[in-house]
């Protein structure tokens, strides 16, 4: 559970919080499983904090420092995370539905089972890479042991391990399924569920963090069907 002293400092606002962080560089803030009522958190320093299960829906976290922050299972629905620093953050099972992640630094984040429905990831190129890497790691699960914490990740090693599997290789593709606009919630949920279960039948894994985008511009490229 959250440290009540840390919660009290946060209730004083971003300036007071950041000052406290400067004065207590060794402290690891514990705001886990707390309902954070302060929503104006732009520029806050939450680096390395424990925010597991924290409630932050709709929070203004623009430019926040969330590097190596544990946000496992946190509620970040419709949070404004533009230009936030999320490098190395743990976002497993985090709800980022409708979150604005434009130009956020998502280097090395763990997005396993994170909800990204309607999230805007424009300009955060690392997001796709992290998702893709997670996909590979999920496929590789059980075949090889990988220390994800290693800075120098050796893709050659991964490739060598993966190609031993009968139907898995390091050659990856992205499947894009374009839906009508507007589309009913029911239809989109049924389609996502069907994709997830059918694809998962051969991998024993749910789709690792499928990206759902609403109102995206049409882009050329790829191999089209229908």
């Amino acid at each position: 559970m959250a440290d009540q002293e840390h919660k009290a400092v946060l209730d004083g606002g971003v300036a007071a919080w950041n000052k406290w962080r400067q004065e207590n560089p060794g402290a690891r803030p514990d705001l886990s499983f707390s309902n954070i009522k302060v929503r104006r958190l732009a520029g806050i320093n939450l680096r390395g904090a424990d925010l597991r299960g924290a409630m932050l829906p709709g929070a203004d976290l623009r430019g926040a420092n969330l590097e190596n922050t544990d946000l496992t299972g946190a509620d970040l629905m419709e949070a404004d995370l533009r230009n936030a620093w999320l490098g190395g953050a743990d976002l497993r099972r985090a709800n980022m539905m409708g979150a604005d992640l434009r130009k956020a630094d998502l280097t090395g984040v763990n997005l396993e089972d994170a909800i990204l429905y309607r999230a805007d990831l424009e300009g955060s190129e690392c997001a796709a890479n992290a998702l893709w890497l997670q996909t590979l790691l999920n496929f590789a699960n059980g075949l090889i042991s990988i220390d994800c914490g290693e800075e120098a990740f050796d893709f050659d090693d991964l490739e060598g391990a993966l190609i031993r599997s009968s139907h898995v290789s390091t050659k990856t593709s992205r499947l894009q399924v374009d839906l009508a606009d507007p589309v009913s919630v029911r239809a989109s949920q049924e389609i996502l569920g069907a994709l997830n279960r059918l694809y998962g039948a051969v991998s024993d894994q749910d789709l690792p963090g499928p990206i759902i985008q609403i109102g995206v511009p049409d882009r050329p490229g790829g191999r089209a069907g229908v």
């Binding site: 796709a128 998702l131 893709w132 996909t135 496929f139 893709f155 490739e159 009968s166 139907h167 898995v168 290789s169 390091t170 050659k171 990856t172 593709s173 992205r174 499947l175 894009q176 399924v177 374009d178 839906l179 009508a180 606009d181 507007p182 589309v183 239809a187 989109s188 049924e190 389609i191 996502l192 569920g193 069907a194 994709l195 279960r197 059918l198 694809y199 039948a201 051969v202 991998s203 789709l207 690792p208 963090g209 499928p210 990206i211 759902i212 985008q213 609403i214 109102g215 995206v216 511009p217 049409d218 490229g221 790829g222 191999r223 089209a224 069907g225 229908v226």
Partner: protein, 113 residues
């Protein structure tokens, strides 16, 4: 436009698209291996449980194409958890949404290391 996208092994994505997206509205021909090994069983399941044989064939053909071991595929048949029926239902859902235009398009983008 609204879009669902995800990444995966190119081979699996290709096998997936062939069976569950590109086959909509067209004749579906399972792999010979699927026919030889599983056609009789699938006919029986389709008859007993009143499931669309075409969708059952797509699901099992996908498992075969992805080199799922035979004993694992047979577990789909022997278990009574309804998983195979649900997957066939999912295949039918995708096909119906393609046919009614809810799924407007699909594409495969190559990604490389």
């Amino acid at each position: 436009m609204n879009r669902i996208s995800f990444s995966g092994s190119s081979e699996v994505i290709r096998d997936f698209v062939d069976r569950f997206l590109e086959s909509a509205g067209t004749r579906f021909d399972p792999l010979q291996e699927t026919i030889d090994k599983y056609r009789d069983t699938l006919l029986e399941i389709a008859s007993q449980k009143r499931i669309d044989l075409r969708q059952l064939e797509k699901v099992v053909d996908f498992l075969v194409a992805c080199d799922m071991p035979e004993d694992e595929i047979e577990r789909f048949f022997s278990s009574n958890d309804g998983r195979l029926e649900n997957l066939a239902c999912d295949a039918g859902i995708l096909e119906s949404y393609i046919e009614d235009g809810t799924i407007e398009n699909f594409s495969i983008l190559d990604e490389s290391l």
